[in-house]
């Protein structure tokens, strides 16, 4: 029995040593870490949520630090009188932005509870129409038929860029929207047709229902027409798949790509490289609006109005940009 336990320990030690050695030799530490992070992403939604909570916590910490730096002026603005519950409902893509705003909002209004229900833009708009939530969240603009009676108001709080990413070894640096659409609809199959080396293109996309997929397909006009080689379920997965395949192309939220510049390369689209500036001035084409949807026929409660004002306040633009989007009101 004793020998057996010793043996098990020994084997475990040898194996972990081998694993570590494998890591070190196959790739540099940075990419190793990146892929581990990606795996953690994929591990479970809980991990994702934990990560975004951590992000949000960071933002809050930043905000707190700024507050402390500036003066007691901000500290004085803590409002304990306002109470109530605000329900927000909609876009999953807006999760990071909204969670960060909620965290910061709760610093100022500790007695207001803000709920966020990630159901998707369409459901968020429906909920705002029906009045089952205070503020609907949509990562796209309202369609005409959704607002036929003009009862909804859309307020853009931020812009989100979708980066087109390729492997670092890929010589391609620029693609047009037509080329991207052609690659994703199986019209172009070889990198040499778009200025790269000879080799098949591995087309990587997101799963049905993903906000990023919806945004990408709407902007490039490839809705329901994409022919993919891999359909992955998280931004982290897409980035690590592209990182590990020299022939791959993928798309991901710009904020996530900006954190992984060592791992993958974002190409410019029609000559414009994706950045906060090019997204803000509209020259980078693959971008979409993050909107708050409110119902005109049902006035916002005091708590909901306070949250709405907080989201649109230029003073809080930092919170939005820390969460990875480009704020509209600065």
């Amino acid at each position: 029995m004793k020998t057996r336990r010793v043996m098990a320990l020994l084997t475990a030690a040898v194996m972990s040593a081998a694993m570590l050695a494998g890591c070190g030799s196959s790739s540099d530490t940075a990419s190793g870490t990146a892929s581990t992070t990606a795996a953690a992403d994929a591990a479970s939604t809980t991990a994702d949520t934990a990560a975004s909570t951590a992000d949000a916590a960071d933002t809050t910490a930043d905000a707190a630090a700024t507050t402390a730096d500036t003066t007691a002026d901000a500290a004085a603005s803590v409002n304990t009188d306002l109470t109530g519950t605000v329900s927000t409902n909609g876009s999953t893509s807006m999760e990071d932005v909204i969670q960060s705003l909620i965290e910061a909002f709760n610093e100022e209004y500790p007695n207001v509870t803000v709920n966020y229900n990630p159901t998707g833009s369409g459901s968020g708009i429906t909920a705002a129409t029906e009045g089952s939530c205070d503020i609907g969240l949509a990562s796209r603009d309202l369609k005409d038929d959704e607002n036929a009676d003009g009862s909804l108001t859309q307020t853009t709080i931020a812009l989100d860029g979708i980066a087109i990413i390729v492997n670092n070894a890929n010589p391609v640096t620029d693609l047009t929207i037509d080329q991207i659409a052609s690659i994703y609809t199986d019209g172009t199959n070889n990198w040499k047709d778009v200025g790269g080396d000879d080799g098949d293109i591995a087309v990587i996309g997101r799963e049905a229902g993903s906000g990023t997929r919806d945004g990408f397909e709407t902007i490039t006009g490839t809705k329901d027409a994409c022919v993919l080689d891999q359909e992955l379920t998280s931004t982290g997965n897409v980035i690590s798949a592209v990182q590990n395949n020299p022939q791959a192309i993928g798309y991901a939220s710009l904020a996530a790509v900006a954190e992984n510049t060592d791992a993958v390369k974002a190409v410019s689209v029609e000559g414009v490289a994706p950045s906060e500036d090019t997204i803000a001035d509209g020259t980078y084409k693959i971008q979409r609006d993050f909107n708050l949807i409110t119902n005109n026929t049902k006035p916002l409660s005091d708590a909901a109005q306070a949250f709405f004002d907080f989201c649109t306040d230029p003073a809080n633009a930092d919170i939005i940009s820390n969460a990875g989007a480009v704020p509209v009101n600065k």
Binding site: R4, T11, A42, T92, A208, A248
Partner: protein, 296 residues
């Protein structure tokens, strides 16, 4: 249970005794309750979508486009992928696992056998996401390179990962079965002039048949129910299966779209779960009854 409860003691009717009996009965029945609850849940939530889509369109439709303007909910690609993936994994894992078990049980020295056994135990304890990660970083690029593909995330990569995952259960259960073969059988065979190889393959393995079959049944269960690892290496595109094509399994079809699904798409995912559930029950039932028949 029977001996204890039958033995009526003086205090058998005391409130504490009655209470404990009741309590244990309740807990004894919980597993049945869970099975009934899960079955009922799956049937109730899975039937409506099948009704709306149509039984044949759902089971035998070859196109899955759940969020298209004109949505299509055909799950034949997922069903076939799950069958092919399971069969392929077992095709690799059964010979490797069985031969490894024979080596462990009949040939390896004491120390070496202990080392191998603890390695197998470790293999069984590795979380599936780690298998998926290793597959994604090593096997997927290897498949792409070996077959000159743009993307190595294919059915083949999934089969390789799955076969490694089902190995531990096949090895350890087969070894237990082989160890349980009475020594007299083998001694008799050797005494009659059979060689060692003949003894192992014509006496030991047939005598351990039912245990080995049970090991394979468990392997089937794991191979068909695995979601996380195959999701990371199979590419997840709803193609009709091909060895070097990106494919989606029944399990991953549910897992990959569930987080954002709504309406009929969501209901259809419940229906896929129901199909998967029935699928596993049928396979287990058929295999188990086949084993029992052989025993009789």
């Amino acid at each position: 249970m029977s001996t204890l409860s039958a033995a009526k003691t003086k205090k058998a009717n005391s409130p504490v005794e009655l209470f404990m009996h009741g309590l244990l009965t309740v807990f004894g029945l919980t597993s049945i309750a869970f099975v009934i609850f899960i079955t009922a849940f799956l049937v109730v939530s899975g039937i409506p979508a099948i009704g709306k889509i149509g039984f044949t369109n759902f089971l035998f439709g070859t196109v899955w486009k759940s969020t298209a303007a004109d949505p299509k909910f055909g799950i034949l690609p997922f069903i076939l992928t799950s069958i092919y993936g399971m069969a392929g994994a077992l095709l690799i894992a059964i010979p490797v696992g069985l031969l490894c078990a024979i080596y462990l049980s009949k040939m390896a020295g004491h120390v070496l056998a202990e080392v191998i056994r603890s390695a197998v135990e470790l293999l069984a304890g590795i979380p599936s996401v780690v298998y998926g990660l290793v597959g994604m970083i090593i096997i997927v690029p290897w498949v792409a390179k070996s077959f000159g593909l743009a993307s190595g995330a294919t059915l083949l990569a999934a089969i390789i990962v799955l076969s490694i995952m089902v190995l531990p259960s096949i090895i350890s259960m087969s070894e237990t079965a082989l160890n349980a073969v009475p020594k007299e059988y083998e001694e008799a065979s050797l005494a009659l002039g059979a060689t060692w190889t003949e003894t192992v393959f014509k006496v030991s393995v047939p005598a351990a048949k039912s245990g080995i079959a049970a090991a394979i049944v468990q392997g089937v269960g794991r191979a068909i129910g695995e979601a996380m690892a195959v999701m990371m290496v199979s590419g997840n595109v709803a193609n009709m299966p091909g060895l070097l094509k990106s494919v989606r399994f029944l399990t991953t079809a549910v897992a990959s779209e569930m987080s954002y699904a709504s309406g009929l798409q969501r209901q259809a995912l419940y229906s896929i779960a129901l199909v998967l559930f029935i699928f596993i029950m049928v396979i287990m039932f058929v295999l188990n009854s086949a084993i029992k028949k052989k025993k009789d």
